[in-house]
Each structure stands twice: as structure tokens, then as C-alpha cells.
Symmetry: D2
Subunit: 87 residues, 4 copies
């Protein structure tokens, strides 16, 4: 992976901590909307992690492939991923 490894790790660990918190909230039978808000917060952290991974990928792997051989294969692979995320 080309993204800042420490930064992405930190985000994934943050989300994992949020999920542990959510499991505790479920066990304590907390209010639905509070649980929903915490799940949304964890989603936001994962989205940020995903953006970091994809941007670093474009700025390194994809850019290098473009410089070496036009990058058609890497671009198509990236487009497949973006097509799903931008649905």
C-alpha cells in the first residue's frame, strides 16, 4: 500500500475502537438513535481511510504506470473501484 501507513492504520484502529464502543452500547441497551449516530461516525472514519488509500494509489501506482506504459490496465482497475464507490 502506498498511502501513509501510520495514518491509515490509525484511522482503522479508530473505527475499530468505535465498533467496540457500539457493541458495548448494544449490550447496555442504549437508545437507537445514539447507536445509529455512532455507526455513522465509524462509517465516516472508514470512508476517510478509503479516500487516503485511493488517493495515494493514484499518486503512486497509477501515476507510475501511466509514465511507464500509458497505465491503461491500472486506470481500468481504478475505474472499476470508483464506479462502485460513486454509485
Amino acid at each position: 500500500m502506498k498511502a501513509d501507513r501510520k495514518a491509515v492504520e490509525r484511522l482503522i484502529k479508530t473505527a475499530r475502537g468505535q465498533l467496540d464502543g457500539i457493541l458495548k452500547m448494544i449490550e447496555e441497551d442504549r437508545y437507537c438513535i445514539d447507536i445509529s449516530n455512532q455507526i455513522s461516525a465509524a462509517e465516516q472514519v472508514l470512508k476517510k481511510a478509503n479516500r487516503e488509500v485511493l488517493k495515494a494509489h493514484m499518486g503512486s501506482c497509477v501515476a507510475e504506470a501511466i509514465q511507464q506504459n500509458g497505465g491503461e490496465e491500472k486506470l481500468n482497475e481504478l475505474f472499476t473501484t470508483l464506479d462502485k464507490l460513486l454509485k
Copy 2:
């Protein structure tokens, strides 16, 4: 929380397992696109958990409030959450 507690717990634990897998992938310096796809998969699981929580909330807390007092307060609270999620 009014949603099927076991089902939501299971989804959150699935997502937590996926995050553990992602941390391992980062450590093993796996390919960016594979990591991105795994992050997206975890996001999908959290979204499903969130939908379950919110639908159960509407079908119980919100519905009860509507029957008891028109539910204005519960509806407004729900709308605030939906406004954020449907952005």
C-alpha cells in the same frame, strides 16, 4: 435499542473482524486496491447495521410516539439523522 440485538451485534462483529483483517493487510504491505475493497466491504456491513437500527427505531419508538402524542419530537429527531445520512 429496538432492532434485533443479535443481528446488529453480528454485523458489528463482522465489521470488526474485517478491520482486523485490514490492519493485517496494511502490515503485510498488501496492494492498495485490495485494501480499499476491504474497507468498502466493511463500510457496507456498517451501513446494513445502521439501516437495521433505524428501521427498527421507526417501527417501534417512532411509531409508538406517533400513536401516543403525534410523535413530533421523535419524527424531528429521526429527520435530523436521515438528513445527515441522505446527504
Copy 3:
């Protein structure tokens, strides 16, 4: 439709005006990112219109059905729509 008809009409007409602007930008061969940003702006307006329609629906049709007969059918119909939008 139960939403403020004038408000929703206004949003849809705003989006339609944006689409006319985008067609003109395409004809003038404008820069990709500018066109993308305008398409995103139109999407945001439609999302706002959709939120208004759905919130008014919940606060009227769904709430009335809940008061009259528990609203199971209306809730299921709403959940089908929300399941798609919250994907």
C-alpha cells in the same frame, strides 16, 4: 404528495436549470472538472428534494397509517425506499 409542493417544485426546477447549464457547458467544450462540479451540484439539489418528499411522507401518510392501523404496510414500503437510498 404531502411535501410543500411549491418548495419541491422549486428544487426540481433549480436542478433542471442546472442541467440546461451543463448541456451548454458540454456544447462549449468546458473543462471536465467544472462540468463534474455542476453535475454534483444538481445531484445535491435533487437529494434535498428527495429528503423533503420523504420526510413529509413520514410525517403525514406514514404517521396517519400508524395511527389508523399500525402502519405496517406503509412502513414496509418506506423501508424498501430507504434501503435503496441508504446503500
Copy 4:
């Protein structure tokens, strides 16, 4: 714009036709859920148009900039757009 101009135009015109249909549905006081579904359909068409514009941009403007000067500026501009769309 670098995307297939005819294809993007066709999508934008499709969405515009859908918006005209929605305005008619509002005037005829049609059912909320039907209107919501039509708004969602128009959003999907715009998202598809946006994906086409952005992918063509990456495969042409951004790729050329990467080959000519590393593309830092074009990549950052693209990242700003993707950051908003992947929120």
C-alpha cells in the same frame, strides 16, 4: 470536456426529461413514494454522467499531465473533487 460528449449529453437530457416528468407528477399530486423513486432515478443518471466525466478526465487530462510534468496540480484538483464525492 474529454468524455464521450454524445454519451454525457444523452444522460443529462435523460435526467432533464425525468425532472419534467417529476414536475408533472407533482402537479398531478401523485403519491410521495412514486415521486421519491423518480427523483432517485434521476440522481442515478446524474451520478453515471459524473462518473463518465471523471473517468475520461483521469484517462486524458490527468494522464497527460502526469506524463508531462508529474501531474501534481491535476492530481490535487482531482483529489479535491473525489474527496467531496466520496464523503
